[in-house]
Assembly symmetry: C2
Homo-oligomer: 408 residues x 2
């Protein structure tokens, strides 16, 4: 990999992503395969004046060894001291960089029950951290790194080396690293997202109507919902970009007021498995019917996790012509694919999608219609045939998306 491009990518992550300021603490979570990028990111953080850069480097084999050799009792156990550590970082405003890749096939031969129990134990333990994540004080960013397995799953006909190079190029396209001045380009893109964010907030829609192949859905928005796109702002006025890439404008649906049918337009991948062609029927906000061509249990496990797992927590608008769509590939990674397509998420809503949500309790947000859950699972519903019409309280209607594109 061209080190100069890695440097530019690291610069986007550190300057646009978490926008490191003098005396910021930084926590970087990554896999051994991404070390060449991590090195550049660490360097860029120190250069930007960080007081501390903590790196948490894991390895596929560490993860696998736990499942393959660990004794049965550990799968219901999540160490409290890890949560204490994360909590102390969050209390001290450490900002987070997640460098990741979908873990293709890694866990496919691993005991499913161990995975389910581990995931549940982890999510339960993590609940304690929600209030910090919701405080809006933490800057964070998630970015991708092409592992060999991921690249081969996207480009099965290329050699491993060629596939990694090809995926790098797609990632550099999607993250604007291939442009002359990536940081400047991100500033312009952010301004564009902010235009749509403002327009949607000005409309103050009561509900949205989705029409597309297999989709006929009415989605009310949460009371005091707020559309959010592009950069976020901490209470101190620091801007950050929580996902790179990001093309979406999203808000909180009303967890109790979603009705109709909904068909996903792209596959969903988790725990090393892919679900194709799946659809839902919603009634009073709740999933009352769920079908999938194969592996339905992958999503069902999440939906069964708690009361909010089978209700929507996010509605997001992305034009079908986004740069991620234009790469012409299915990344098989939510981080990228959700930015190629309008989408929803089952599960938790983001506090920032409610006006003043950072200062409300879970209960107060829930009373406004914002969903609460341990899970947050995105799935795609875009495509060139999608139409979204917004309805205001006075009954007037405005076409938002037509044939997959912004209609305004």
């Amino acid at each position: 990999m061209d080190r100069e491009k890695l440097r530019k990518y690291a610069e986007v992550i550190v300057k646009v992503g978490i926008n490191v300021k003098e005396k910021d603490g930084v926590f970087i979570s990554a896999n051994t395969e991404s070390l060449p990028l991590v090195r550049e990111v660490v360097r860029a953080c120190w250069k930007a004046g960080a007081k501390d850069v903590i790196t948490d480097i894991t390895d596929d084999d560490f993860i696998l060894a736990r499942y393959e050799e660990g004794h049965d009792y550990i799968f219901d156990y999540y160490p409290e001291i890890e949560i204490d550590y994360y909590e102390s970082m969050m209390k001290n405003n450490y900002h987070d960089i997640y460098i990741g890749a979908p873990s293709i096939d890694l866990l496919k031969n691993v005991n499913q029950d161990y995975q389910r129990r581990s995931q549940e134990a982890e999510m339960k333990a993590m609940v304690r951290l929600d209030k910090y994540m919701n405080s809006g004080k933490l800057k964070w960013v998630g970015v991708g790194y092409p592992t060999a397995k991921w690249a081969k799953s996207v480009f099965p006909n290329l050699s491993e080396e060629e596939a990694v190079e090809a995926l790098w190029e797609k990632i550099f396209d999607a993250t604007r690293v291939n442009e002359e001045d990536p940081v400047k380009s991100w500033r312009e893109h952010d301004a564009n997202l902010k235009f749509y964010e403002k327009w949607l907030n000005d409309q103050n829609f009561e509900y949205l109507k989705y029409d597309g192949p297999g989709t006929d859905l009415t989605v009310y928005l949460a009371d005091k919902h707020k559309w959010v796109g592009g950069s976020s702002e901490t209470p101190d006025g620091d801007r950050y970009m929580a996902n790179i890439p990001t093309e979406e404008i999203f808000t909180a649906p009303h967890a109790m007021k979603v009705d109709g049918t909904l068909k996903a337009t792209k596959p969903f991948s988790r725990m090393g498995k892919i679900i194709n062609n799946f659809s839902f029927v919603f009634k009073n906000g709740k999933v009352v019917e769920f079908k999938a061509e194969e592996n339905p249990e992958i999503l069902e496990t999440f939906m069964d996790m708690d009361e909010g797992g089978c209700r929507l927590g996010e509605v997001a608008i992305v034009p079908h012509s986004s740069p991620i769509s234009q790469t012409g590939i299915l990344f098989k990674s939510t981080l990228f694919d959700e930015n190629a397509s309008c989408h929803f998420a089952l599960g938790n809503s983001y506090a920032e999608t409610i006006i003043g949500g950072e200062n409300l309790s879970d209960e107060e947000r829930k009373n406004l219609g914002a969903n609460k859950s341990m899970i947050h699972i995105d799935f795609m519903v875009g495509g060139s045939e999608l139409s979204i019409i917004g309805y205001k309280k006075d009954g007037s209607a405005v076409q938002i998306i037509k044939n997959g594109e912004w209609a305004i």
Copy 2:
């Protein structure tokens, strides 16, 4: 590297080193270069029933980037939350595996003042952890891994690849991994060390007299000193081997009662530099004169760190014919070289080298003569010409070491 040998080495580390039991927590600290070994060690820990295996993987470039890009203020700063994290691990009896290598030349072009300030800030912050380290409850082990740079510094005439292979072989010899049943061989070796440990404790020497080239030194032992060698035992009766390899029997000298001259017999390496041919004059336990052919400041920095930095905290006996000596090489690593040779350490004494020391305060140990310091720096004083005679309170004398070998 032959994966089977790595597995055997990992088994020695996990079974003999920290002797992992069901429900133990484990903390592994290592560098990215040692990943092939870390993977085997992680696997062996889970297999042995660990409840949690935390890996802290650093990288030479992370360390370098901090010195090269970090802003000035960070070099006086050590993050308290890191100490909190270590403290919570220690409170919860996480046992420690340190996989390391001397960092040859890594920091040679880095601002020396930054290094000195960083080291001081770190050591001051770490003081809070002393009581856990001294409690005797934690099992820990330090082991070596041949990095390319380390191997080249030991075998400068071999290619990088050959040097790494050659150093692996020397490490496998020194750690008994090349023997048929390394774990069994370690049990036998431990019994042998325990024989000398008991003999030395039975003698209850008041002081030792060292004679060798450039050395003419009288070293009183601390009141209630205890000789320790081979495995240690936690209060719960769990055995562990804190260094692999280990060939030494060591105890606490009296910090106020060391007099005479002392000449090191092997080079000392720290912070990327080597000190050759250095010697001390002691008076009433304190270094009153220090000479080195080159780079004296490396050791002086440590000796100036605090009041105990210029007094002895450890005296250790190793026969000149130890397997580490027999490898015929200078490892340029304290972990190995100290086990080729009788040695001393400047700085802190180990609580376990005082009878009941784990339950005494720092002040109480100090009153018995045990030294207290932030530093602990080993240097070698062995060789084929060394004589050590032990003197008892009744005036009788016993030859302990003659011509570098056990005389008993």
